[in-house]
Amino acid sequence: MSLTTDQAALDQWYVLGAVSHFPFGTPVETGLLGEPVTVTRRDDGVTVIGAGRSLPVRTTYNHVWTSFGTPARDIFALPEATEPDRRWLYCGGVRVAASGLRLIENFLDLAHFPYVHTDILGSEEKPEVAKYEVEQRRDVDEIWATKCEFFQPKAAAASDGGQISQYMYRVVSPFNVMLYKTPPTAPNRWDVIALFVQPVDETHSIAHPFMLVIDPTSTDAEIIAFQQMIFLQDKIVLENQRPALLPLQPGRETPTRADLSSVLYRRWLKEKALTFGTEPRTDGVAAGA
């Protein structure tokens, strides 16, 4: 395994974990884009070494971010991060034997709720995905899915019963995504649940779920347990998905109506000519074409 040559993948910011999860003074070995990287947290900041050099580091949103290349944009804006009553929860990295792009696409998918998160995020009695809107916001280079609605028996750790949850999805870079969702305790606001994916290699990823939520009652342990439960239900599906790499070639996987966001996500990846974590095409069409 060695560092990818995929420039589109290199020129992105990646999360390597929550700052607070790195011990002081002890270097931590991990991997990114096929290459080993070493993270060291010291009193005066965090350093990341990879491919024989010091890599750029940001600690935005209390996470360690790095890049092997030259990202076209700074790390995305998250206005909710300034709201004082939000709880910041770092759910811990979970390793998944799957392409990071598969993780993002699964995160965007509403249709799997009744079957994978049965009686929690969805109900087999109400499996229909209502029509929602997707758009590529070219000014910020993000994908948004809005006006998503879904009946959820237990939408969050603080839920007492079922609710129709409103959702918005936001893909801020090929491996970083978040959703906005109505909290059971504050229906006029949005919880933010982010999934930062660290692509270790093409078929191994570390998922770093991060939450900025409004929940005055649940304990940290309850909120983290809820999120981990949901993610582990996805993990077994992700690890059994074939092909392991995300196919971008037309006809390899047939999208359904509920997959609007997936269709746009794949188109957006093609536009970026991103190939890391994608299935090699056999139709002679080069990435980005």
């Binding site: 929550a18 999860h21 991990t30 770092y90 759910c91 811990g92 990295g93 979970v94 390793r95 034997a97 079957y115 994978v116 049965t118 570390i206 304990t219 940290d220 342990a221 309850e222 983290i224 347990a225 809820f226 981990q228 439960m229 949901i230 993610f231 582990l232 239900q233 993990k235 077994i236 690890e239």
Partner: protein
Amino acid sequence: MPKLYDYVLSGSCYKVRLMTALLGVTYETQAIDFYPGREHKSPAMLALNPLGQLPVFEDYGLVLRDAQAILCHLANRHDPAGTWLPRDQRFGQVMMWLGFAGGELMAVSAARMVSMLGYPGDLEALRAKGRMAMRVIEDHLSDRQLAGGIWAVGDTPTIADIALFPYVMLSHDAGIGHEDYPAINLWQRQVRRLPGFVGMPGIPDYF
């Protein structure tokens, strides 16, 4: 009401959740932030269990640790018929498999923590130990099935089956698939059919 100090991803806590579900025992839970928070090592939790491990189960004023001990307690207290923990000649065999479930089979748990959560450890060595434990179970269940049986001990499910089930099923999180274990596959489908069965993340009801 009994109380389980619980971690949702723990196969050992799941042994208790599954047994209470099968027995119809109601209880409350307190979520413990095992990962990433290491709350099981907090002073409050060490006061309950100086070993710093989950599960911990409170019932009848007792504070119990060790999933296998808790299974024995549940069967003892909540199964007056004694089918889950038989007191006849099956008792010793049930105990033998409980010891194995809390001993050799925990290599699968350790491999899972390294593989899934990035804990330090020699993943290949742990996987090899885990596969050896799985092989012991496979050979035993295969013999049982050849003799017309299905359960680990005797003709009915016992706490031995419940103690073995979680980490056998979670082995795929440790990178140990089930392709080579046909007897385990037959047995696990029977466990899933038990009235009151509940799954856990990584052990879905739909497989």
